[in-house]
């Protein structure tokens, strides 16, 4: 069965303007991510891994760099419509200047804001710098929910207050009896589905006794703390989907938002529990500096998953962590991927981590993808000289007490990269043609592509 890729990147070029000249950080890369798969992106520092993720998310700093060519399609929508209109690089000989057309740029950002955080989200490398130090964890976790998931939050409230005791008992028994088919059937009704989610989150708590769980369920059943006005307005909004009108009236909107904020807090607690944090209630009012590195990264993951994204970009999510914490986080990500069936773009320089996580791997060198294939092809049958060198330079059991393989030289200057294949100055098999022409991507086995003149 031919699957449609979720994300397609075609000939993407991202350039940065510095006073020394234009840095060609990405020089025409192609990527595809299919639904439900994990694509590993490996490469060394400065090869453009992170720039790729920033380009996809549209998070490039507009005064420094921009996409100059190429296209990104996410779920059939083109994200790069405004390329060459919002941020323009003007060349003057070798030097260049960057100009931002604010109006066009804001338009692009408005457009992306509807997708970012909701359908694709990102886990950053440094959880300390990615979380805002002056805002509480609770605030930061609920922000995307309030931004993107008003409708779902209203459904949750309505489900609790409009469904009768009979429905409640039925759902409770189905969840606690783990009757999967029954649940599937019940969740077709959006109201019931919203309730199932809430009861499930109580059921899967490991830190509570059955008594405490029952207490929480009773709490859930109590119909209080919300006025009839709220309920009726929510009902109208949910039925007619006129959300935007009600929430644009100044005083009314803040009045309507209050119960939603509380509801978002509840949802945030459920999310934190999903990433195996015990006693999440107390964490909501904590600030990032009070947490350890592993906890912060868990919060980041919870935040990224809060709106059930289709694509999760993980930019070196475990590089700042210890091995034991790293193992915990990686297993958590695998587990969550199975549960939510999101696609992951997993960026790392650690070949060990990629061997563990990825289904397919793309190897990057100096702003180009030089090889891509599935995990087995890359690890057991690497073709590109750079991939081979990279794999052989990792210390393993066989290399103990002997020399490691070395790739001579260092990564090229990206302002004036070598002509032809960018790897040729460091390549042991370099031929004449390598310094003249850029090698095209060539399929050498099924699904295994290499950009090298050797093949």
């Amino acid at each position: 069965m031919e699957k449609q890729p979720l994300l397609i990147v075609r000939n993407l070029k991202t350039h940065f303007v510095t006073w020394k000249g234009v840095v060609k950080a990405l020089d025409g890369i192609d990527l595809e991510i299919y639904p439900g798969e994990t694509l590993g992106l490996v490469g060394e520092t400065g090869c453009g891994k992170s720039v790729t993720s920033y380009s996809i998310m549209g998070l490039l700093p507009p005064t420094q760099g921009t996409i100059v060519e190429g296209s990104i399609f996410f779920n059939g929508i083109e994200l790069t419509k405004n390329v060459g209109k919002d941020v323009i690089i003007k060349y003057k000989g070798k030097k260049a200047k960057i100009k931002v057309n604010r109006r066009a740029y804001n338009k692009t950002q408005d457009f992306l804001n509807k997708i970012r955080g909701k359908e694709m989200s990102m886990i950053f490398q440094e959880p300390m710098t990615a979380l805002n130090p002056v805002l509480s964890i609770g605030y930061q976790l609920t922000e995307p929910l309030i931004q993107h998931k008003k409708y779902e939050l209203m459904m949750r409230i309505l489900a609790r207050h409009t469904l009768g005791d009979k429905d409640f008992e039925e759902i409770k028994n189905a969840v606690f009896g783990e009757e999967k088919e029954r649940l599937m059937e019940l969740s077709k009704d959006p109201l019931k589905y919203a309730l199932i989610e809430q009861i499930k989150s109580i059921y899967y708590r490991k830190d509570l006794t059955s008594l405490q769980k029952n207490e929480l369920l009773n709490e859930l059943r109590k119909k209080k703390g919300i006025s009839r006005f709220h309920l009726s307005v929510y009902k109208k909004i949910v039925e007619s989907k006129y959300e935007s009108i009600f929430f644009k009236i100044p005083l009314l909107s803040s009045y309507l938002m209050r119960p939603l904020r509380e509801e978002a807090n509840k949802k945030a607690i459920e999310l934190l529990r999903m990433v195996n944090i015990y006693e999440p209630e107390s964490l909501l009012s904590a600030y990032p500096h009070e947490l350890s590195g592993g906890m912060r990264q868990r919060v980041m993951i919870a935040m990224a998953l809060s709106c059930d994204p289709k694509l999760l970009i993980a930019d070196e999510p475990t590089t700042a962590l210890d091995v034991t914490t790293q193992a915990q986080i990686l297993d958590l990500m695998k587990d969550l991927k199975e549960r939510t069936s999101a696609s992951i773009l997993f960026i790392t320089h650690d070949l060990g981590v990629i061997a563990d996580m990825a289904d397919r791997i793309s190897v990057m060198y100096a702003g180009n993808v030089v090889e891509n294939g599935n995990k087995m092809q890359i690890f057991y049958n690497p073709k590109h000289p750079y991939t081979r060198g990279l794999l052989r330079s990792v210390p393993t059991e066989e290399t103990m007490k002997s020399k490691l393989h070395i790739i001579p030289g260092s990564i090229p200057n990206m302002i004036d990269p070598p002509k032809g294949c960018k790897f040729h100055p460091r390549c042991e098999f370099a031929m004449d043609i390598c310094s003249r022409e850029r090698p095209p991507m060539k399929e050498i086995e099924e699904g295994h592509y290499v950009a090298c003149w050797l093949y």
Binding site: T209, S210, T324, A327, A355, F379, S393, T399, H405, I406
Partner: protein, 427 residues
Amino acid sequence: MGNTLIVGRGLKKFFEIKTGLFSRKRLNVKAVDGVDITINKGEVVGLVGESGCGKTTLGRLILRLIEPTDGELYYNPSEEILEKIKNGEKISQDELKKYSIFHMGKNDVRELRRHMQIVFQDPYSSLDPRYLIKDIIAEPLRSFGWDSKDAYSRVEELLKSVGLGPEFMNKFPHELSGGQRQRVAIARALALKPEFVVLDEPTSALDVSVQAQVLNLLDDLRKELDLTMLFISHHILVVRHIADRIMVMYLGKIVEIAETKEIFKNPLHPYTQALLSAVPVPDPKTKRMKIHLEGEVPSPVNPPKGCSFHTRCKFAFEKCGWTANELVEYLRLVMDPTRNEELKGNILDEIEIVSDTELIMRFKELENPGNIRGVIDKEKINNNIRAFYGIMGIEVSGKEVKIKLYEPKVPELKNVGNNHFVACFLH
């Protein structure tokens, strides 16, 4: 002259933290908490552990870059001293002043630093950005009285030995890549022809391919100059590549020492096992059994009693050092009659912690006191609540149930043969 280069006994370093402006309470971060260390000549010793376990502090302590809280450290000790340490005899104050690095005067330590050097983790911050490369490397030479001309010719020599050409002499650090900077840092450490070098995570800021270059360089230099090295790293595969012997550190204590091959073949301490199993191997076919460590590393301000690893250990049993504090939450959970029907009619009021090894549960109503023991045993096995292994006895008197625990004991490093030392009650 013996074969031993460095001997340390009972090394301790506590960092004091202030709790408040007027607070009398002083808290100590026990970064290094009683470490014995022996390094032989020509040997590469790897020191591994998670961040915050005190690896770096230990490395700096050995060079006395930070003042120790306690302990003795000898550099190149005489047979006489070694004998005394071995037999546990007391070493006189005069001898300590003469031989122990921690008791020496400042000038003597300075003299010793000629032989002991360090390479720091981050090559981006360990080189002065306003100095030329040649001045950075010549700095240690100058401070030991070399004149400029000799120093610069030595710098050229050194640059060559770390694989950099003389054109680097007149560059600034910012013009160099990470790998080149780390080479400069290594050249600086080797300037005075030291015998002993501490390498504090020398490759963790570098890429894999650059890391390979630096590791090969270190290997060459070691053979050429007959260096002794302490290689500190959290990257276990790198340590395996270069070290002869590996020490594993957890919360300021050494938990296992063995030769590299031995430790990878036969890790004995549960922490070492978990650590090794968590290392991602760049080979998709190897499916290792991952041993998961629950929770986080405890705070070094108040490390767990007994074996400091027992809170996360899968095998922790009676004498590993359970304290009353750790049991309270579990007891509250288990004594709930809705969880365990045998306890119907028992209503728990409060739990009082009398001491580390004793606690009292007060019940409002106690109808089934006989079942308490059975429930605890059942939960211990069914739900693997390891803390209950620490219970020595349960006494019922009236509506009070007294629970006594085993005295916490600290496991000591024990030789289990084959020069394999492990600090664990299991062995």
